[in-house]
Assembly symmetry: C2
Homo-oligomer: 377 residues x 2
């Protein structure tokens, strides 16, 4: 792997101290995986919860190694490799609140505690019960700046995750045929990504057909509809390698495209190219969004590009900065993000192109290698 | 649908008032779906996040209708049907913290605020910034008791979700063959569940082979290993209908079973039967666990039944009470839960049976109809 967790923790420790944070809490999350390699469980739609689930995670104090707090159910089925370091095991019948309060106050009650943005509300409530006078801050303000610039090892993981998408896109193309359902294709995408070594989809796979005579819009990401000739089939998928997420998209036309599809396809490719050119160190995320969007607005399709241009990506699918109108973060070398312009106009046309890029002095470099030529099947 | 959201909100309002809670916050979650029908997004492994994601949800005050707070990105792609009621839209460039603080203080600053157990830590931090004197409580203490007993309409949804599992189990059996990989079978299970109308898997599907000569344990829920003769293949899957989750399991033997598999299979069936008999109104969750577990302990396999007997289930996969040693909640008519004893002994044998039950005066009634006979393929 080569991911330098110890170095990350050293920088994090310094950042905590500089921010005046006495203690930080991370549940199993991208934050905790970044700092320690502690693996996240796969996502579940319905809450997946063991006794004392809220206590699961690790506590960090500047200048010391983390203390892991692990409920019995989590340890039994989600940590086959265990954890290197101090572990406080919490049995199902234990008084988790008392154990947790003791750990929070170890060495003196902290005045300022940072919690992961995705920590459970139930955990934060218990921190406040244990430390009524505490000042709480969002850990993202401390850890976000460390996570956003990727190391060579992180780029390698993101590239492996992206190349799986390229491979799957090439393989799935032959499945796009009239009569096949979107669900069948999406299921095959999910299977192929895992077959090629991805741990899980990084988000719910989208396969949706749009075009003349079909009123559906892009809010339904997969249907059980059978594909019919004349529609553009948009793909949006990604997978996870060593914890790092990919995110990729193309649109394939089924049957001979009409003039509007041909026009729109070239527009989204041109919009992405404008974004790529703008995505250099020193420009802001908002500037990349504006450069991308302007191409679509100039072509008269601005009303149908209804989302931000992209988002940073790493251990999480959507990381800050967002490549979006409101985000004025200055891009730095080593940031990784998607550029994914679309035109989704229900009943008429739908097309999107999406790749994962790393910001470099010479411009944004794609970690995907899949071509962007129009594909008609 | 027939799900009585207005009636639920009325009971919730009374419960908030009785608990001295002035305001409650629910993000998109089982809690919010229970109270309003507001749909959850599908789960994603890497965080899926729009600008101001932390503000998404609804605020409830006793005696009033909820106020929905919906960021632009969430509204654009996740709420095609909109929401009935007051909606405060938050654009990407808006000052979400100021808008949220204004809503929290509308009509006077609340003294006690309840937050969903799964609310984002980032949201709770901002509640505290807006209301430094507030007392925070875990909403589960108020809403959990309302959610745990299911109505006839909820039971109907759980039964539909469970019957999809039954159908898929019957269909997938013919795919269990030497040379087929666990991943191929799990992908087919996921596809079939959606094909039969499930919205999504309710949790990550498990298909894992155990038995003589195979050292893997049950922490790896799916591998890319090809199945070989002589192993027991355990299934653990569920899907979602109208927001309600199912959770089902069987083990199928591939090739002629040895005497230990035959013995263990009967033990887990007998253990489940003991749990069913114990799961009557008035008994505690812990008593059901003990009755189930005792059968396995008496048979000498106690060390290999490493988890709780089950958990309640509804809009979430794991709801309280848990059918577990530490949970002394008294069961009531209309509670729904799994009884899922296992014996997972690496290198030797693995078998589990799991169905979804509703607590009734005559005993636990299964919402699954799939048989429990030993299957050898």
């Amino acid at each position: 792997m080569g991911l330098d967790h110890a170095g990350r923790r050293a920088r994090f420790s310094d950042a905590l101290a500089a921010a005046g944070v006495d203690l930080a809490f991370c549940p199993p999350s991208g934050d905790l995986e970044y700092l320690t390699g502690f693996p996240r469980r796969l996502a579940s739609f319905g809450n997946f919860e063991y006794a004392n689930q809220w206590v699961a995670g690790a506590l960090f104090r500047p200048g010391t190694e983390p203390v892991y707090v692990i409920p019995q159910g989590y340890a039994a089925f989600n940590l086959p490799g265990g954890v290197n370091g101090e572990v406080v095991a919490v049995a199902n019948a234990d008084d988790a609140a008392a154990i947790f309060a003791g750990l929070l106050r170890r060495g003196g009650a902290p005045r300022t505690v940072a919690v992961s943005a995705r920590a459970m509300g139930a955990t934060v409530v218990r921190i406040l019960q244990a430390l009524p006078e505490v000042r709480l801050v969002d850990l993202d303000t401390v850890l976000g700046p460390l996570r956003r610039v990727k190391s060579a090892d992180e780029l390698a993981a993101l590239e492996r995750a992206s190349l799986i998408c390229d491979t799957v896109m090439a393989e799935i193309t032959s499945s796009v045929a009239a009569g096949t359902t979107e669900l069948e294709i999406a299921s095959e995408v999910d299977y192929l990504m895992r077959r090629h070594g991805g741990r899980t989809p990084s988000f719910d796979t989208g396969v949706f057909a749009m075009g003349p005579g079909d009123g559906r819009d892009a809010t339904t990401r997969v249907s059980v509809n059978a594909l019919v000739e004349g529609l553009g089939v948009s793909f949006d998928f990604g997978t996870v390698v060593d914890g790092y997420c990919s995110d990729f998209g193309r649109t394939i036309q089924l049957g001979e495209p009409g003039p509007e599809y041909r026009e729109v396809y070239e527009i989204v490719i041109a919009a992405q190219a404008a974004g790529i050119a703008a995505a250099i160190p020193g420009n802001t995320a908002a500037e990349v969004h504006r450069a991308t969007r302007q191409v679509i607005v100039d072509a008269g399709y601005g009303d149908w590009f209804r989302h931000r241009t992209g988002h940073c990506i790493g251990l999480d699918t959507h990381e800050r900065p967002f490549i979006s109108e409101e985000d004025h973060t200055v891009l730095e070398e080593g940031m990784t993000f998607t550029i994914e312009p679309s035109v989704f106009r229900p009943g008429r046309v739908g097309a999107r192109v999406e790749d994962l890029f790393v910001c470099e002095p010479g411009g944004a470099r794609s970690l995907n290698r899949y071509h962007r030529d129009m594909v008609v099947v």
